[in-house]
């Protein structure tokens, strides 16, 4: 790829990313209430999206090879446990991450 072709490729990726981010705001402009169906989606989608993102982060975990997803499962349990106990976002996240790092570096 020449330099110009590389810059065009990067430009396409910028364009694609911006399209996915700006499109809803362009389709449903300010000042006019969005259709009720879209308002409904805006209300219920976030909860579903957070579920999607949890799975998305774990998409490369293989249950049948390697460590069988045990470090991931164990560390998520640690995050959930810590968060139910203390409800301090940073403690839950740091605790779970340290737990995961120890498991993958020393146990598995």
């Amino acid at each position: 790829m020449t330099f110009t072709e590389q810059m065009i490729t990067i430009g396409m990726i910028v364009l694609g990313t911006m399209l996915t981010r700006f499109l809803p705001f362009l389709i449903f402009p300010a000042g006019k209430p969005a259709p009720r169906y879209i308002q409904y989606l805006g209300r219920v989608l976030p909860s579903a999206v957070f579920g999607l993102l949890v799975i998305y982060c774990l998409k490369n975990v293989s249950l049948f090879t390697g460590s069988h997803g045990i470090p991931e499962l164990f560390s998520i349990a640690a995050v959930v446990g810590l968060h139910l106990w203390k409800r301090q976002m940073l403690i839950s996240i740091a605790g779970g991450t340290v737990c995961y790092m120890l498991l993958v570096q020393f146990v598995f």
Binding site: M1, T2, E5, Q6, I8, T9, I10, M12, I13, V14, L15, G16, T17, M18, L19, T20, R21, F22, L23, P24, F25, A34, Y37, I38, Y40, G42, R43, V44, L45, P46, S47, A48, V49, F50, G51, L52, L53, V54, I55, Y56, C57, K59, P71, E72, S75, I76, V79, V80, H83, L84, M89, L90, I93, A94, G96, T97, Y100, M101, V104, Q105
Partner: protein, 236 residues
Amino acid sequence: MSREKKWKGALKAAFPHTIPIFAGFWFLGMTYGIYMNVSGFPFWYPMLMSLTIFAGSVEFVAVNLLLGAFHPLQALAVTLMINARHLFYGLSMLEKYRGNGWKDFYLIFGMCDESFSINYTARIPDGVDRGWFMFFVTLLNHFYWFLGATLGGIFGSLIHFNTEGLDFVIAAMFVVIFMEQWRKDKEHLSSLVGLGATLLCLIAFGADRFLIPGMLMILAVLTALRRPLEKRGEEL
């Protein structure tokens, strides 16, 4: 409140929310920069790309796109598919990302998974300007990513560290955000649909192509559930 006081207060309130992102992004950004470096690109490539794209997963894919043959439309199509989930974020942010003046443009530009999740769920303290708070969450995240990518691009393969597993920090953060949203919701069906549909599609389609089917399934199930969910929403 003076203008200066306004943004300083918001920066102070926003920073703690971005600490997990700091941990995750300098690491992931650096991994990305190193990957670019060992693929033969000068450091200013990851620098430029982390500034202008600011969407982690697509930037990793971009390395392969840049190494392959020149297919601009394919690059666009791949980007649209990987980033289609941003459409959901936009629909959820139609109100929050409006009325903040010039900041709106940057908020939408920088609406990555992490910025969206924090800005949607954070309990912003009273007296803190919402627009500035969300602006600094986005700006700090953007800066961490940029810093990591640039450093990785400069120092590349010189760096040896045993940070194996540190990338789990992002997954841990989404688990916590999921739980916080669960606490806030009176109705948990939507959370369960998100988890279930995505998991099902991951099993059915595999890690490389589950995202779009997963999103379509979420959309279909939530659409089918609209009447009962709206009815229950009114009763609560």
